[in-house]
Each structure stands twice: as C-alpha cells, then as structure tokens.
C-alpha cells in the first residue's frame, strides 16, 4: 500500500511539475522521463532478474528505427509508429533472448554486447534507408497524432509523462506478482528456483522480451518526441548509460532508475558549467557512490529506512 502510494505520488508530482517548472527544466524532465523509462526496462532485467546486458542500446534503437522508418517510409501515424517500434524491440528481444540465454554471467554480457554491435553496424550499413551515422530528422508534420503536435513543449511533456507512468506502474505491478518474485528468485539463486519447479529459462526469456519492449518504447518515443533518429543511439555508449543510471539510482528498486537518470543528467549539466573536466566529476561521483552507497540511492533508502520499498 505504501509502495503504491509512493509511486503514485511520484507520478502525481511529475504531473504537477508540468504546471510549475521553468521552461528549461520542463524540457529536461520530459527527456529524463523518456530515458528513465529506458532505464526502468533495463532494471527489470539487470536489477530484478540478475542478467547484466551490455547491449540494450540495440533494443532502444530497434524502437527508434521501428518507429522512425515506419513514419519515413510507410507514412505511419505516430501512434502506430510507437507500436511498430515496440514490436520491433520485442521481436529483437525474443531472437536475442533465445540465443543469448543459452549463456550466463560474463558470457551473457559478451553475447549481448556482440548482438548490439552487429545491430549498430547493420544500421550503418543500411545507410540507404537509415542515413547511417548521420541519421534523419522526423519533420513537424510527421509528428502530429490526433491533432496533437508532439513537438509542442506541453504535449511532449505529457506524452513523456504518460509513457514513464505506464512503464513505472507496469513494473511496480509486475514485481509484486508471483511472476516478478520468481525473477528475484532467479537472481538470488537460479538453481534453487529451478529445483522448486520453475521453468527459469521461460521466465528469463519473458523478462528479456519485456525489458526489450520497454526499452524500444522509450526509443520510439525519443524519435517521435525529439524528431531525430540516429545510429549513435545504437552505439555501446547507450548500452552503458542505462547501467550507470540504474546503479546510481538503485538496482532492483522500481523508483531507482528514475532517480539515477535525473541525478546523472543534472550532475553532468551542472558540472559542465563549472569545469571542462565534467566527466571526471561524474566519474568521481559514481566512484564515491559505489564506495559509500553500493546499492544506489533508492537501495540505500531501502536498507536504512524503508525495507518495504519494492
């Protein structure tokens, strides 16, 4: 009950922020919510299931290109494009999951990394349609759905809020269900979960597909809300970022990925105004956090103050 209240409170707070935030921070929060949805999807696999993927950018990119190419070449309505993006991510998740889950641990990291590299190169090589590294722009008229212009600041914020809220509440619900508890059991001791009769492979595959679909939804939303589709988002850097956001905010907590994404943005944005070596500041903050709060922000809160935090 407390958990539901807390997360609904966050959703309400973010909605309220729409009406009071200054323009710059309003725009920042819209982007942070989209990326936090990506991190929340990543956390489902990493934080709850214990599978460390180093290739999630491929799912984000699958959503981005599924939606972007759908708009560009099939003249899809943004609503349908979002669905196309999610479908592309889920299908890729299924294919990668079937193969990568034959491995575990470090091998799983390497296999996902390799699949992501292949996806990145595939996008570059299909330059005729994707415009490779340069990418392409979705023009204003291509981003209007039901008469709503997704390039408008208010519409963009509310769309990002709707996406993030849906993902947050979906994952909150999932982790409280028996299926979610099985994922935690797999994370803690897969052998034991299997001995108890759970088909751990099927559970892990479902987790990969759902995590990929959420990452893809975020990628598709980024393309539709910010008007750009590019191969950079498929690069390894965008696989590492959700890992950092989740570690910072708290792996295996529902609220953590949002906190991590938000904090990391403002850490870099503020530090870049103070010193050219701002990445050093960000790196130092992460090292300190790892030393003194290894479970991340929400993880520490759970450990010290609120053991009920999901």
């Amino acid at each position: 009950m407390r958990a539901a209240g807390l997360h609904l409170g966050l959703v309400g707070l973010l909605l309220a922020a729409h009406f009071v935030l200054p323009a710059y921070h309003h725009g920042v929060l819209a982007r942070v919510m989209v990326l936090a949805a990506y991190a929340t999807g990543y956390n489902l696999l990493f934080g709850y299931t214990g599978l460390l993927s180093l290739g999630h950018a491929m799912f984000f990119a699958a959503g981005m290109y599924g939606a972007g190419l759908g708009v560009r070449f099939l003249a899809l309505d943004p609503g349908l494009a979002l669905l196309a993006g999610v479908a592309a991510g889920a299908l890729l998740g299924l294919a990668v999951g079937l193969l990568a889950l034959r491995t575990a641990g470090v091998a799983f990291m390497i296999v996902t990394l390799m699949f992501a590299q292949a996806t990145h190169l595939g996008i570059l090589l299909a330059g005729r349609w994707t415009r490779g590294d340069e990418g392409f722009v979705l023009q204003g008229p291509e981003r209007v759905v039901l008469g709503l212009d997704l390039g408008d600041a208010a519409i963009r914020y509310l769309a990002a809020w709707a996406l993030f809220s849906a993902v947050l509440l979906l994952v909150l619900r999932l982790v409280s269900l028996p299926a979610g508890r099985v994922l935690v059991a797999i994370r803690e001791n897969e052998e034991r979960a299997r001995l108890l009769g759970y088909d751990t492979r099927a559970h892990k595959l479902r987790a990969v597909v759902l995590s990929a679909a959420i990452a893809a939804a975020a990628g598709a939303a980024y393309a539709l809300l910010f008007g750009y589709v590019g191969a950079t988002f498929a690069s390894v850097q965008y696989s590492i970022l959700p890992l950092l956001w989740v570690l910072l905010g708290g792996a295996g907590t529902v609220i953590g990925p949002f906190l991590g994404t938000l904090l990391m943005f403002y850490l870099i944005d503020t530090a870049s105004g103070l010193t050219p070596a701002y990445m050093l500041v960000a790196g130092l903050a992460l090292v300190l956090l790892t030393l003194f709060a290894p479970q991340g922000l929400a993880g520490e809160v759970r450990r010290r103050l609120a053991p009920w935090l999901p």
Binding site: A23, D133, G135, G230, T232, S272
Partner: protein, 425 residues
Amino acid sequence: MTLATTTRRGALKALGAGTAAAALPLWARYAGAQSAAPIRIGFQKHATGIGATYGRWYERVSQAAVKRINEAGGINGRPVELVTEDDGTDPKRGAEVVEKFALEHNCDIAFGTLFSHVVMGSAPRAGELKLPYFVVSEGHHVASGALNRWTLQPGITDVKSQVRAMAPWVAANLGKKVTMIFPDYAFGHDHRDNFSEAIAAAGGEIAGLIAIPPTETSFTRYFPQVPAETEVIYHVMVGPGVLTFVKEMGEFFGPSRPQVFGFIDSLEGVDLTSPGLEFLEGTYFWEGNPRYAQPDQTSHDKAYRAAVGVDDNGASVDDPRDVSTYAHMFGCWETLNVIRAGMEAAGYAGPEDRQKLVEAVEAMTEMPLSDDHPQGAKVFNGKTHQVFGPQYISKVEGGRLNVVHTASIEDGMYPDEVDYTTQPF
C-alpha cells in the same frame, strides 16, 4: 506558458526604474537600457568526443572573430558574447545544449556545430524553439531540405558542392578511371554518390568502389581490390585509422602508384611531416582553405591568420606542432561575420527579432572576398540556406601543400533541392 502577472513588488520596481531613467540624460537612457546588454551567441562546441580536435580550433577562431567584431564596435552598438557548451559530439547532448542556449542562457542564437549527426539531432529542437541555428558543418543536410527554416549554413560550403567541384579537374589532369576508397557510412556515401555522378559528367568513369567498414583498423586486404586499369585513387578516409591507411597504401603500391587524390578532412590537425605520411608526397588534396600560406596570399588571409594566431604553416604561433584544422575553421569566422551583417540588416534588438534575422540572412546573395570572408568570395542561396564558394586543390611537395588549382564558385553549384523560404516560421 509565460504568465503575465503584475505583483506589487514588480510594479514598484518598474516605477522606480522609470523614475530613475527619466532623471538621466537622453543618451544615457539608451546606453543603460537593453541595447547595451551583450548579444549572446551560444557556441555548440565539440570539446569532447570524436570532434574534439575540430572543436578546440573552432572555438579559437570563434573567439578571435568575436574579439574583432567587438573591437569594431560590436553588433548594433552592443558587444557580442560567446556562451560555450560542450556537446560531447553527441546528438542527444547537442539537442540538450540547444535547449540550454535558448531557455537557460537566454542566447540570441546558436552557432558552430560541425559533425553532421549532432546537427541533425539538434536542428529539430532549434526549429521548435525558434532559435536561429547557424551550423559550420559542411554536411549536405541543410541544402538537402532535411532540416528547417531556422537552420542555416552561410559560412562553409557543403560536401556535395565540394565533391562536384573536384571532378572536372581530376578528370582533366589526373586521369579518367577513378577508384574510390571511402568509409561505409553516410559521409562516405555522400562522396561516392556525388563524385560518381560528377566524374561521369566530366567524361571520366568509376573503375572501382571500395567501401571500408567503419570498424576497420587495417586496410591491407582492400588494396588488391583496386582494379588494374585505375588511373586515380580517390580516398576519403576519416578517423584515427588514417595514418595506418596511408602507410599501408604506400607499402602496397610502392613507387609505381596511380595518381592519388584525397580529402584533407582526415588529416586536419595532423602534421604532414609525421612519420608514415611520406607516401603522400606528390599526391593531391582538396582543401577548403589552404593550410600553408601561398605565394599569392591575400591580405585578408594574412589578417585572418594573425587574428587567430596561426603561422604560415597552418600551425599555432605558440606551438608549431599544434596544427590547426585550417581547411574548415574559417567557416566559424565567416559565419560570425554573416551573423553580424544579418543582425545589422535586420536591426536586431533582441529575441523578438529572431525571425527578422533569418529573413535578413535569406536575403543575402553576394559576399565579396574581404577580411570578413578571407577564404574567398561567396554566393549565398537564401532558398536552400547554403553558401557556395571556391575550393582548392593542393599538391604535397616537400611536406607542404601547394595550391595547384582553385575551383570556381560555379563549379560547385547544383540545382536547388528545397526552398525553405516557403516554409512557415
């Protein structure tokens, strides 16, 4: 979403300011008012990431141009201030930086982006925020119609223009059968498509097309693919692999090489006397602006070099090993002068005049060779938001680049692909 509210404190402040202003002489009222505040130009700098070498020199040139503009009285009597933010050569951060310029730093315009993917990622936000966005990218993205009415490229020519201008000279002087070696992504594809078309129009032909995957670190296995009848190798490799590329090309061909023509992009910021580059002796390069001061150097180039702090070899006057990105960075200098001319023509007073600024730049056509345009005379196409100018072909002789041909502005022209002036603001 701006709320127009009047508070008691605000009203008192305004009354106080009004009373104080009324007590001042007429001239002092204007000097102390909004008109004396600096014009703020947001400079999107590639300080980190793959574009860092360019970013450092782009900033140096931009600071020099701003200093010169301020010493000449600023713009419309107001000083100019450069507000620099690192975009990490990343399209997501680029878009964030554009938002920061418009909404946090209260910049009048944004300026200075080089890498195409950062331009593409940032331009939609500039358009939505109605922030004039002056890029110095040489990408064909602006003139192709992919961007929007708020994005302009008035200080540097685009890759399509550059490539087309090279073909007639290559066919007439180096050979008609050309094999292209290019990176297998958008930048390389632009070269492949535009040069293939232009060389055919110039009476030549493509003997071979060799696309190098972006992750390649050794090129030895590609050189045997060069057809035997090849008369000219056209290379446009970029990135850190270029030194290996040149060395391995030298080892493969030895002294019996075909003619070699390349784009200087990959060797910007690199000393031509670096070990491994000996093979380049006697080969040819496109240069946007000649790195080495030429015997017929104009007074404008001389003044520009002095202002930026670059010696006759294109290196920093403080450190001869610090080679500049001379072929491209003039674009920042010229763009800032176009911005000044545009703001003066528009009577620019503040962000409410941003649309007038874009319209004033769109109305520009001829830009004569001058201290404002030291690279050469230009012609601006207001419909496509793209400038056209001369291109240089230089030969490597004794470890320096000597200009052997200057392609005219007309050589690089092509039919319009967009008319931005028909788009609403």
